[in-house]
Symmetry: C2
Subunit: 282 residues, 2 copies
């Protein structure tokens, strides 16, 4: 496994793989790797001959007052983890390598970033779309892997790559959960043991909504009431949003008549957790 910090060297390494006729997969991450990333990497490993994992905590997608500074940085254990999963290339640039003199160019996606996380995190998806496009242009993979846990991010990236004709296949990988249902996330490590126990309430709330849909309920307000009743059981969990959204546009729907996601964000003290469940429609 090669660990590379510069654009020039990662391009050379990928070029060498290409010259040998190998297909290339990219798994973009912000590090603090966990089992969720592990599933992305394993899937990439099965489907491509060269696997590149990028590790970069992207300042552009954090707003003022967000956790950019304290976001977990665990490069040594990340490298061990990647090594154990037979990754070929790690691309872990320092911020000035990707943003050498500020950045004047931004990728803006309409509609999809408007609701859910976009409401409380203005500019977040602009930062995500911009850095992902940069990474895709640097590595030029055949496929890039993203988790469904960040469903809105996934849709932004799908839309961006389609609209800009980026020659890459975006692969969506299902959310990985702890045995009690909590979606695995780098931010889970912020949680105290008590908070960790409360954190499952988000998954249980989404599940209640999912069950309401399975039982035939089609009015979002009623579907969400089922969720809210679960959330109300744990007063230390503060809801940021809970919505039933169209699975394509990520805009809230009043009545469910096609594929949707039930998506939620909650705060437990200073830790923000998100999760979602897909409902494929009739």
């Amino acid at each position: 496994m090669q660990v590379i910090k510069t654009i020039r060297e990662i391009r050379e390494a990928v070029y060498t793989a290409r010259q040998a006729g190998k297909t290339v997969a990219l798994v973009p991450t912000m590090g603090a790797l966990h089992e969720g990333h592990g599933h992305l990497i394993e899937r990439a490993r099965r489907e491509s001959e060269t696997v590149v994992v990028s590790i970069f905590v992207n300042p552009l997608q954090f707003g003022p007052g967000e956790d950019y500074g304290r976001y977990p940085r665990t490069l040594d254990s990340d490298l061990d983890f990647c090594q154990s999963l037979d990754v070929d290339l790690i691309f872990c640039p320092d911020p000035p390598e990707l943003y050498p003199q500020g950045q004047k160019t931004f990728v803006e996606v309409d509609e999809i970033p408007r609701e859910l996380c976009g409401r409380s995190r203005p500019g977040h998806f602009r930062g995500v779309a911009t850095v992902v496009l940069k990474l895709l242009n640097i590595v030029q993979p055949d496929r890039a892997y993203f988790g469904e846990k960040d469903a809105q991010q996934l849709r932004v990236i799908e839309q961006m790559t389609a609209d800009l004709n980026v020659p890459v296949e975006i692969v969506a990988v299902p959310t990985v959960r702890e045995p009690d249902g909590l979606a695995i996330s780098s931010r889970n490590r912020y949680l105290s043991p008590d908070q960790r126990q409360s954190a499952t309430v988000l998954y249980r709330a989404l599940n209640a909504a999912h069950q309401a849909l399975c039982a035939g309920e089609r009015e979002s307000v009623k579907v969400l009431a089922a969720s809210q009743a679960v959330l109300d059981q744990d007063p230390i969990v503060r809801k940021e949003y809970l919505e039933v959204v169209d699975a394509g546009s990520m805009s809230p729907v009043t009545t469910v008549n096609g594929p949707v996601r039930i998506a939620g964000a909650v705060w437990i003290e200073k830790t923000r957790l998100i999760d979602n469940l897909y409902w494929k429609g009739e």
Copy 2:
């Protein structure tokens, strides 16, 4: 010369050239080809083994009330022209091929588009940057060629490709002029013979500013006064702007102490003409 209308086919044709070890150049145009484009194509022909010319009048870069509908479309003569210059591939998609279901994703460049043409054409450079990125992603050339006549556009594209790490070399080609100095432009054909004669006043005005700089003048206000005196000679020419701008940021400067462009836009009845001259500084 192959004439191709779909993304799939142009990608296949470029892929075939690549497999044969050939380098690829792209000359993006809106058609209505003239000697200016000819210089771009000839330069591309000298420097690359496969030359692709795209012909696409991009609706995204025209504002409401602009000349999208009446912009000259001369595909047959454009194809003859390209054939005569030994072009390999023409990519001339219909609008739905590039914008199949509306476009939600846009490339925004800060600062550079703010002044000059950006003032009167909000959204223009967003449309330019977006379509150029799409074309670069579709064709994936080694080099792409742009004229210095559209200096602000050129800077937007240079900045965009650098900021987004697009793996392409942007080649700037000097403005081609008629014997009397008028910059060659597709929009020149809108001019009546009388208007055509008046049109040279823009070049003469820019030249007066350039001469003032050569003579040692460094205050933009005085440099521009020299231009304005020339423009005032022809009352049918209406000034939109005349500025001395930093050659990198394209923002107006008060005092010239580095490379600048003297840039102007004028209207002759309903026809808008732009031109600029570079001044390299001391």
